[in-house]
Symmetry: C2
Subunit: 308 residues, 2 copies
Amino acid sequence: MVATNNLKTPQGQASFEISAYLQARQRLCDVALEGAIPIVYPEKIYEAMRYSLLAGGKRLRPILCLATCEMAGGTIEMAMPTACALEMIHTMSLIHDDLPAMDNDDYRRGQLTNHKVYGENIAILAGDGLLAHAFEFVATNTQNVPAERLVQVIAQLAKAVGAAGLVGGQVLDLDSEGKPDISLETLNFIHIHKTAALLEASVVSGGILAGVKDSDRQRLSRYAQNIGLAFQIIDDILDITATQEELGKTAGKDQKAQKATYPSLWGLEESRRQAQQLVEAAVAELTPFGEGSIPLAAIANFIISRTH
Amino acid sequence: MVATNNLKTPQGQASFEISAYLQARQRLCDVALEGAIPIVYPEKIYEAMRYSLLAGGKRLRPILCLATCEMAGGTIEMAMPTACALEMIHTMSLIHDDLPAMDNDDYRRGQLTNHKVYGENIAILAGDGLLAHAFEFVATNTQNVPAERLVQVIAQLAKAVGAAGLVGGQVLDLDSEGKPDISLETLNFIHIHKTAALLEASVVSGGILAGVKDSDRQRLSRYAQNIGLAFQIIDDILDITATQEELGKTAGKDQKAQKATYPSLWGLEESRRQAQQLVEAAVAELTPFGEGSIPLAAIANFIISRTH
């Protein structure tokens, strides 16, 4: 995976260190998220929201949003409130998915799940609070972006989390438990909605904030859909090959839940090959953006090289 | 309650039939809501969202939004997507509040609660889906309103449902169960957040859509806060005096849950007097709006005369 860690620019001059880039961006996002939800009365709900939001995720969605906005001529400052909102939405979906009535998970990002610490009722409300705060945060904190673009961003985020996105994907995911023989079509539906939709919103919203034209927005959508599915294939592979310590969450849970996964349909080797193909297709969509697309291309490659 | 049902206009000419007005507006809202969530694959989640959304509520929040927008010089068409979003948010809060981990209620609006029909997992997701759809619906369906106003409306709605609104109120409400001796201050906090905040967002968003000036927005806020508390006082009274059939939901549940209520603090008579005072204060805020404020004044009076 040399290409991932030391990408040549089109000029073949500078090198691009994806690990350092991701670390620096993650720190930027962590600082912004840290300030995004002050604790006021009643403290418990704000603490519960912060507990999961600040649990140290990879911040992949915020980073994609920032990177796309910059690539398209915008700034980090323009995109940061939306980037934070994306992480709030992602965190909300994790909190609700982990609930006993859903996947019933005890660990997430290396710590106890929200409901194990705060109880089911507060965990449900913390998710609701994060989802609402995401929209409020974009609407009230974004600077130097025309309101027309903000309305479009809000529509993108909302669609990605609703029944045509995360929620719809989770419905089918719940249905697929104990049915290891579901079709590739159903598996794709689940992950296009449960994983790719929010990654797509992350990338496309970054583009909208910077004012990309429609044809570029289409390219960004295809880039994101491809890395979204690749991301999920790798997730499925890691669920089999990685330890709980590496993942920071319960390992081997797909097999335990008798869930169909890409490796269960294709085997490990073919799954890796498909993920590689998807990443190549994703990177191809970035060609018109030139040298500015190096971070997004590197992120795509990083996705299939990650170990957790 | 003659004044409620047959209000004179300032000119003393035309009369205003609040019951007919509310019925007509409710029908308008029901038609709009009926078309707001088409059923697509996976059908179950859309059906669950529609089940609770179309269960025939009073549509008080949408009606307040439409009435305020009209009073401030806007149109029903400008406000209808926001009106629908308000009902989606309200319905989401009911679905989640009724969950076993929360108030554990079996009946709502005269029918089984969402989780009793679809299961807890789908009920949680149906709430999430409705909340997301509310924002998407405002952002994509509103016509002839400047985007700057839409962004402000979205911020209002989001704040009203988040930890500084419904969610925060529900947290304290859960805490107050089995504590019949909580202070008036805490009781007010609960209902300002759990009830008044969304009513305030309903009224203020109607004003924002029509482009009211800041001082009028303050008046609208105070009108709504006052009717919000009056509404809750009457709710508490009805929980004691009305039957389950009249309410369409479990009656006497406050007493059973040993919850402090306004009647438990003040007694029934003083509670009615306080509600009446709040409504008078609310109506006084409408003076500068002249004859156009008759519907909002009538709605305020209707709130304390309702029997369910």
